[in-house]
Symmetry: C2
Subunit: 449 residues, 2 copies
Amino acid sequence: MLTYNLKGKNKYYTLYSLIRDDILCGKLKRGERLPSKRALAEELSVSVVTVQTAYEQLIAEGYIYSAERNGYFVAEVNADFYGKREISLPPEEREKKFAVDFVNGARTELFPFSVWARLMRKVLSDCGEHLLERVPCSGDAELRRAVASYLYRARAIDVEPRYVVIGAGAEYLYGIIVQLLGRDKVFAVENPGHGKISATYRLNGARCAYIGVNEEGVCCDEVEQSGANVLHVSPSHQFPTGAVIPVSGRARLISWANSCGGYIIEDDYDSEFRLVGKPLQCAYSLCSDRVIYMNTFSKSLAPSMRMGYMVLPPKLYEKYLKVFGHSACAVPLFEQKTLAAMLDGGYFERHISRLKNYYRALRQAALEKAANLGVRCTVIAPGSGLHMLLQFPDAPSDGYIKERAAKAGLNLKCVSDYLLAPAPVPERCAVINYSGVSLEQINAINVLK
Amino acid sequence: MLTYNLKGKNKYYTLYSLIRDDILCGKLKRGERLPSKRALAEELSVSVVTVQTAYEQLIAEGYIYSAERNGYFVAEVNADFYGKREISLPPEEREKKFAVDFVNGARTELFPFSVWARLMRKVLSDCGEHLLERVPCSGDAELRRAVASYLYRARAIDVEPRYVVIGAGAEYLYGIIVQLLGRDKVFAVENPGHGKISATYRLNGARCAYIGVNEEGVCCDEVEQSGANVLHVSPSHQFPTGAVIPVSGRARLISWANSCGGYIIEDDYDSEFRLVGKPLQCAYSLCSDRVIYMNTFSKSLAPSMRMGYMVLPPKLYEKYLKVFGHSACAVPLFEQKTLAAMLDGGYFERHISRLKNYYRALRQAALEKAANLGVRCTVIAPGSGLHMLLQFPDAPSDGYIKERAAKAGLNLKCVSDYLLAPAPVPERCAVINYSGVSLEQINAINVLK
């Protein structure tokens, strides 16, 4: 007779698990007859119902079967692998931290948290259970309208709200674009550039072409000769070189897209942070049929805010609806409604203007620090957004610059570190991304000569 | 001399835009000299600074250039396409609505909204600005721990929290899996089944193999012969047939995965809603090295809650960190913290148990309604979760069943509608998915004979 120790309140489940484990490890063998419900109940001092419920669960899962008027039998299971598990080392999830990080990170101290929290509370009580409703694939209509009207105010783009698509961050949207345009397309990306962009396209199964960058942004000749169908570009502020594509270059790229039926993805990721003059006019407003405008709130609001948006050309939007019309939007409605309230209330623009003042001060401090390093150093791309370049003509190599910086507790990269394929780039040129550092950190930097 | 009407407060921007548009449409031609700043300022009755700022913006964008001591000239732009835009028809975003929908939808009335709102407010004040921090690729540590401990309580799976990955819904996670396992892999899916699953794999560039389903779930012979490397399966409750894979079948599938180095994706989407007995033991607990366990909160909480999770085998998790380690999690931290509080506080399980009672009543009402239709009708898969099958042996065809239903305001599909490739399926068999209907709706159904 089977003997089990059934303690605790959930006796039937304990009994079920014990019998199950005995079958899995081979202690109870195929075809073996189990005791009758009554006999086992008596043996274990539990009710017949307990045994019956355990047997029913075992039958439902295929561990045992009942033969009418004949009892219960162990079924054939063949789980030879059971109990043999691979052992693996715990992976390391954290990276080494530097005192001052000029590569990664974003500051959240300036985020208007109290406004955000107040708007969240308001959305929670205003919308109530509507917040549980399924959000259509393109996002909440209210947020799409708020984004369109923000784009009109801030970027002077005249966008119909229905062509705005909300997504869970920029990388998420890159994936959507690959699915929309097709994996057979070649995606041209800026070289040097953000490795994450081409990595995301490649992860999504698309091929990439790497286009050199000069003072006027991506090299148009290379784009035309690349055989690419799609060009991912930041016309207003290339990363890391800071180059701006002049309108003649934009026009040429649009002609290229028109002639090959391709698309330009205008990644406007830090246009809000142009510290000199107004943000530059975007390529989208030159030609909304061939340009996919794209931006994210991760840089401008907070890194945990995985929200980005794109504006699709009308024909592409129709295709988007065909492909994704039955999917739900991946961003929770709650965040969408809160962001809409933030945009409509003007809080977002006030936040951006505060951030700009702050970054201006950071940039100034970094420039002063650079001027007092005691080594020759040239600033490149002074009108840029969240980063600038410092070229050290007397440094022996890029490696030397990074090594010296690391000794002073600074994490930084050089322009050459952003090369995705071999290409000529400015040498001995450090990329100072100040979006993740504080004024105090910059002022405290002490590079030993 | 240029004459423009500069009204409003932002004079420099208006001037900039007007000159820009004149250049774009060809009114101002390449090489043409612009008036001096002073002369234009006088002509337009604005300050010299206004004109200078407008000119600087035009220079920055490449519309004009300045020749030292010689003045400002229109640059070469070549925007021939400017002003020519495609016109497209407004796409239709809404679908036709039925009175009672047995195909789509989920009920949100039972969602414990006041608890959720209370937890949200608590998270907001407890976590404060921490909510703005970047969330690591696998999700918030607190939620991953809460999910692991929920899985232990509810599904008797012993999972290490670090192998839990949080994602923005099930489809999002399917995409991650394709990127992780590789687009060269063949994904086997259940046929008939949810078209969305294979559609998502295909959209992500993977090939699919379609595996027939019988009373014991997916046909193991077909899996073995399919050449597939990955099998996506719902062992505890196949949709739409309701079949359960017995433990012998699960063991055979795991042996298959072991022998070919493949993976089983255990989609446990409605295991919480098994209305008879405990949820069935999951395949993951048989072999955590070859099974990716996956579930979503969209069904159990609310459709707007785009949150799903998967438990990766240790080796695959290491690879996941390598590929996605530098990405951020796509679910906002705020929702993650709130859900963690909901799981840890036992609110989620109380909600599920309320839902189960409700669905039991719905199922009962649907069964009674079916019994009183006045036509012969058999119920298939009575222990199932959120749907059941009604077979009408005397109906002339599947089309006839759907047509009669539509006349009574019911949206329903037959099992054959879920075929992804030709295969034998039960005919004249309606799929009654009652997750989106109310008791009142079922009771009010009046099918004319």
